[in-house]
Amino acid sequence: MQFMLLFSRQGKLRLQKWYVPLSDKEKKKITRELVQTVLARKPKMCSFLEWRDLKIVYKRYASLYFCCAIEDQDNELITLEIIHRYVELLDKYFGSVCELDIIFNFEKAYFILDEFLLGGEAQETSKKNVLKAIEQADLLQEVRYTPNHSHVWQI
């Protein structure tokens, strides 16, 4: 995987992880172009995109787009599942994750991502193991702030 971007429906970047060395200027350009391209796509369209010489795999979860860039020989479907597993991990960790959790605790989202993907490759795909590792590291940390947003919507 070359990079992973999370952005909102409004085009605001929520998370970016680059696994290939690029200059800041390039990163900005790529992000801008890609956000635009992906947001322009209609809901029933294919989750894969050919973009420059890369393959983009994206999926929308509620208001948040998860978007990965892979190389041509990589498997698109498994990349979709990588996205999905990441969402599952976030969901389990935050407990019914929503975009706000990621906005306000983005460093946590990064920690989880680093425990799941390392150097662009799936490192640990067992949900239990990833969360165990995160929890162990968290134990050394003060209590994180949990947004109480249950009154915003009913589950």
Binding site: L22, E50, A62, I78, L80, C98, D114, K128, L140
Partner: protein, 1098 residues
């Protein structure tokens, strides 16, 4: 679970816009980060955001640098946030490193995260992190070790790897699996950025592969995938291990933790499948090891979930990559069918992708799904459309090319993506140039669209090869004239319209064509063309490159008289231009328009294709053209001054002068016009120079690419395709609206499954090969010349000069010969490089089915030889015994595998006999079933070997002669198949000594017209240098030394059957000056090439 997420998250969208909502206000008020985020979402303009962030950054900057900040972690997170919004916070980088270094464990974690987000591996600050990482790797706190390994696997300065490598290696033995796993991934990263550094620990990778923890083992597969990609042969021994692992995974032997939606370790499965594909590629015995587990994987992946489809897709790819097995292929094909037919768009896309991947091997599969493909062509999602076009591109043949190109152009009109446009334009041009023969007008129109749409983004070689194709033309003079006239006719209205809208490249093409061919249109006054061209010069957006093309064209057109005013004006305007090239062109225009006589000499009308001056010059004793590689070699070899007097090679040396010295203000450079159109291109376009250089670098490889299956070669097959096709649509009664699609289908899939298209798809490398011009070299009697093949210097005009001349002589008889040959032969053995070079003469196909007893003995052997990693040795051992008895005593070349499919393996070698060269083709039936109606062998039982021998002769010499053939056969199931092969023989195999007396030599010498001169290196061992060199040549190339007198020697040889070549050698200033003469064009050039090689290899 995912449903829950979906439900939960769907409630969200309204949230962000509700910033003033009490909930979110409460949310963000608690921390500074919260404040920042809330503040930003409240803003309405980018400008306000910028102000706020700058303010924030200032605040952070102030706080981080105060000595006793307790908020470091929080500040870092805020910096990360600002960076994510696109604002630079570079002042905080150093603090991130400090935090990772000095902070508590918790702060460290944020510090490392910030470092990994802020810096990339080439950042100099990263060096400051090395010590921290070193310290943490040795920490007793596991969390710290994990953090260090995590950051190292993401980024680490390449040069500092040795500093921490021992520590990371040590971690491979750590009792905790999480540490071992991260260590493996860190080593993977090292392997990617500096493979040499980790070479010595390859055996430790093996240990990781055998780790008892599946997670560590999975991590090690990343390294293996990478290493096997680079060198599959080195890891063949691991195949059984990978297969065993996959078996266990598929069989559900892993802990439940590794399941993903009840599918066992899908990531691991996919990784293994990719590795197996690499290992089994072109390797039958390795492939056999994995058939069973592949079958099992296909069977197990049944659940209707994305993840099983991901595995299936990888399985299918693997099955089509490794040595084929029919029942697996069948299942894989079914799988692809399910993908293509799936209502889920993602699966459909992958189905198309898989089809594109396999269609080269199995064109019928595309035929099966033709209606779906047609539907996908009209799909609202451009990605699906695009992938469909990619698929169609692979199945293009002479019959469906117009429809497919039309579809591509349609797509181009709606596509807005530059990358796609460049790619598609290249493909259209490739197709148009590949099949221009029948459709002159179509060709020009298509290219016009390509130029207009592709604009200035497209690859520069597209216009170049178009012009070359136009200028060299095809077989018939009349057709050529029509083509050129059509081009002119289509360009004039464009210029009369709004030329300002046309891309520069197109304008350049137009001006060149008008300059060269507008005279073909009789009702068109040159004056009008001149004024149209002059209009281009006045356009604001014309680049100076375009202007120089235009001026060139005007120079060709001006005739003085009435045109004088336009040209005068133009030349005056540009003769003071700051651009030296333009200035030169303007001067040329000025002089030549005033001196019609000089102009007529320099730019003869219709100079294209008329190279009489070359033959004149040659007759006057000028040195013939030498391909660039030869000149280069000469240059390399003879750093010394040449003491040879200059020959009368005026036109050619002048033209080369104009290339190198374009800026020269003298009239000399005008001689570029002398050598015809192609040279003029040189004078104007820089690109040529680069291409020429490329050609020099890889002359032989280029030559190898020459083979392009010809669409015209098998007109008989078209009928087959048609009839086959007409069956397909009639199978089902069609409702009305379907008919249009059916019609489209019949035009798209015509000719598929017939041999002509199979050969087309045999082109396994989809790399666009732009110089399609070569393709027409296969047409009977078309132009192609050996010197070009040597050098592949497609842009070297004088070679084209030779070329056309020779072909005029050879054209007629060659064409007829070919026709005769092909109709006689049962095995279609033709030459790849067109009929001009080689002609395969089949002596009666002497095929031997082996007797049963023998067959049983060789059963294993015969089944085995396939294109192994070391196929040469293996096959030779077994196939040697099959050499026909009368040849077995003679020396033969190594038996090389040619190609293979699921049922046949082909190998070949050549045997040099005194008066002929025999090509021996071994056809091995590697399948379990008998093969029927095979041409030329008749029938073959399972695992038997048939041998065919063919005597080869060369009609036109080339450095390497390539023979192409087809074996067609029928499987018991009744499907007829064919297998194409090509085989390359160096010209030297056709050379035999030629025994003549000195007198005979003298007479012949004078009568031979084609010659070449060159200085060769002398061999200086103890012997007398001339004798030593001649002896070496004699030994290596089978030449006959006629006589040696003092410092001169004469040598003779013949090309089979009886085409003599004489060689005159003289020692001169430490070099061997060689002069070759022959009645055969190109033979001297080719021979001198081999002489050079022979002497170099000593």
């Amino acid at each position: 679970m995912s449903d829950v997420v979906e439900k939960t998250l769907t409630a969200l969208p309204s949230l962000l816009s509700l910033d003033s909502h009490p909930g979110s206000a409460k949310l963000s008020s608690t921390s500074k980060l919260g404040n920042l985020i809330r503040g930003i979402t409240e803003l309405t303009s980018k400008h306000e955001e910028e102000k706020l962030i700058q303010h924030e950054l200032l605040a952070i900057k102030e706080q981080v640098s105060s000595p006793n900040t307790t908020m470091m972690k929080e500040l870092m997170v805020r910096s990360i946030y600002c960076e994510m919004l696109g604002y630079e916070a570079s002042f905080s980088y150093i603090h991130a490193i400090k935090l990772a270094q000095q902070g508590t464990v918790l702060e460290k974690r944020v510090g490392y995260l910030a470092v990994s987000l802020f810096l990339n591996e080439s950042h100099e600050l990263l060096l400051l992190l090395v010590n921290t990482v070193l310290k943490d790797l040795q920490s007793t706190n596991l969390i710290e070790v994990c953090m260090a390994l995590t950051v190292v696997s993401q980024m680490f300065p390449k040069d500092m790897i040795p500093a921490i490598l021992p520590l990371v290696e040590e971690k491979l033995n750590h009792p905790k699996e999480i540490i071992r796993r991260k260590a493996v991934l860190a080593l993977y990263k090292f392997y990617l950025i500096a493979p040499n550094q980790v070479q010595h620990i390859h055996n430790k990778f093996r240990k990781a592969l055998c780790d008892k923890d599946p997670g560590v083992m999975t991590a090690s597969l990343h390294i293996y995938l990478q290493m096997i990609q680079e060198n599959p042969d080195a890891y063949k021994d691991l195949t059984p291990s990978f297969v065993t692992i996959l078996k266990q995974v598929v069989g559900g032997k892993l802990p439940m933790d590794f399941n993903y939606h009840t599918v066992p370790a899908p990531w691991l499965q996919i990784q293994l499948l990719r590795i197996l594909a690499l290992l089994g590629k072109n390797d039958q015995s390795t492939s056999e090891v994995m058939y069973e587990v592949l079958d099992e994987s296909l069977r197990r992946a049944e659940m209707n979930h994305n993840i099983t489809y991901a595995i299936l897709y990888e399985c299918v790819k693997c099955i089509y990559t490794i040595h084929p097995k029919s029942d697996l292929l069948e299942k894989a094909a079914k799988c692809i069918g399910n993908f293509v037919l799936s209502p889920k768009i993602n699966l459909k896309y992958l189905g198309l992708k898989a089809l594109t991947y396999v269609v080269q091997q199995d064109p019928k599969l595309a035929l099966q799904h033709q209606m779906t493909i047609i539907e996908c062509l009209d799909h609202p999602d451009l990605i699906i459309k695009r992938e469909t076009l990619e698929l169609l591109f692979r199945i293009t043949n002479a019959q469906n090319v117009t429809v497919i190109v039309e579809k591509m152009l349609e797509f181009l009109c709606i596509s807005e993506d530059d990358h796609t446009t460049i790619d598609l334009v290249g493909k259209v041009a490739e197709l148009a140039e590949k099949y221009p023969l029948k459709y002159n007008e179509w060709f020009i129109e298509t290219m016009n669209t390509v130029f207009s749409l592709g604009g200035d983004m497209m690859q520069p070689d597209i216009p170049n090869s178009f012009l070359k194709l136009l200028s060299e033309g095809f077989d018939s003079v009349e057709e050529d004239r029509k083509l050129k006239l059509f081009a002119v006719n289509s360009y004039v209205p464009l210029l009369r319209g709004e030329p300002g809208k046309l891309p520069q490249r197109f304008l350049q093409v137009i001006s060149w064509v008008l300059g060269e061919y507008s005279h073909l249109r009789e009702d068109l006054e040159p004056a009008e063309v001149l004024s149209l061209l002059a209009k281009l010069l006045d356009m604001k957006n014309s680049s100076s490159e375009t202007k120089s093309w235009v001026l060139m064209a005007m120079t060709k057109l001006c005739k003085g008289g009435t045109d004088a005013s336009v040209t005068q004006e133009v030349s005056e305007t540009y003769s003071s231009s700051l651009d030296t090239v333009l200035r030169q062109r303007a001067h040329e225009l000025q002089y030549l328009s005033q001196d019609p006589e000089l102009r007529a000499r320099v730019l003869p009308r219709g100079s294209c294709g008329n190279f009489a001056f070359v033959s004149e010059a040659l007759a006057a004793g000028a040195a013939p053209y030498k391909p660039p590689h030869q000149r280069q070699e000469e240059l390399d070899q003879s750093k010394a001054l040449s003491l040879e007097p200059y020959g009368l090679s005026l036109p050619i040396s002048m033209s080369s002068c104009s290339i190198t010295d374009r800026q020269s203000p003298t009239l000399l450079s005008m001689s570029s016009g002398l050598s015809g159109d192609t040279l003029k291109l040189d004078g104007v376009k820089r690109v040529w120079g680069r291409e020429g250089y490329l050609a020099q670098r890889e002359p032989v490889e280029e030559a190898a690419q020459v083979e392009v299956p010809s669409p015209i070669q098998s007109p008989g097959r078209q009928g087959e395709g048609d009839s086959l096709h007409s069956q397909t649509p009639t199978q089902t009664p069609t409702p009305e609206p379907e008919q249009e699609k059916q019609q489209l289908a019949s035009s798209l899939f015509v000719g598929l499954a017939s041999q002509s298209s199979v050969s087309l798809m045999g082109k396994s490398e989809p790399t666009p090969q732009r110089f399609r011009r070569k393709a027409k070299g296969q047409g009977p009697g078309s132009s192609f010349n050996a010197s070009e093949q040597i050098s592949s210097s497609l842009i070297s005009p004088p070679s084209a000069v030779d070329n056309l001349l020779c072909n005029n002589l050879l054209d007629s008889n060659n064409a007829s010969e070919l026709a005769e040959q092909t109709s006689q032969l049962s095995q279609r053995l033709t030459t790849a490089n067109g009929t001009c070079h080689t002609e395969a003469e089949l002596t009666e196909p002497d095929t031997k089915g082996c007797n049963p007893a023998l067959r049983r003995d060789n059963c294993v052997v015969a089944a085995d030889p396939g294109p192994h990693d070391d196929p040469g040795r293996l096959t030779e051992v077994c196939l040697d015994s099959y050499l026909p008895a009368e040849l077995s005593g003679l020396s033969h070349s190594e038996i090389a595998p040619l190609c293979a499919n699921q049922s046949l393996n082909l190998s070949a070698c050549h045997v040099q006999k005194e008066d002929s060269l025999i090509l021996v083709v071994f056809i091995i039936n590697s399948s379990e079933s008998a093969i029927q109606q095979m041409l030329p062998a008749g029938e073959m039982t399972s695992h038997s070997v048939a041998v065919g021998q063919y005597s080869l002769t060369v009609k036109r010499p080339a450095v390497h002669v390539e023979v192409v053939g087809t074996v067609s056969y029928q499987l018991p199931a009744g499907t007829s198949q064919s297998l194409q092969f090509s085989y390359k023989v160096p010209l030297t195999s056709f050379i035999r000594p030629f025994v003549v007396s000195t007198e005979e030599y003298g007479t012949m010498w004078l009568s031979f017209s084609h010659d070449t001169k060159q200085n060769l290196t002398l061999i200086n061992d103890n012997q007398e240098p001339l004798t030593a060199t001649l002896n070496a040549l004699k030994k290596k190339l089978q030449l006959h030394v006629v006589e040696v007198i003092g410092m001169e020697g004469i040598v003779a040889c013949r090309l089979l059957q009886d085409l003599p070549c004489l060689m005159h050698c003289r020692v001169n200033a430490g070099w061997l000056a060689v002069w070759l003469r022959s009645p055969v064009p190109d033979l001297p050039d080719c021979l001198i090439y081999h002489c050079q090689r022979a002497l170099q290899s000593l």
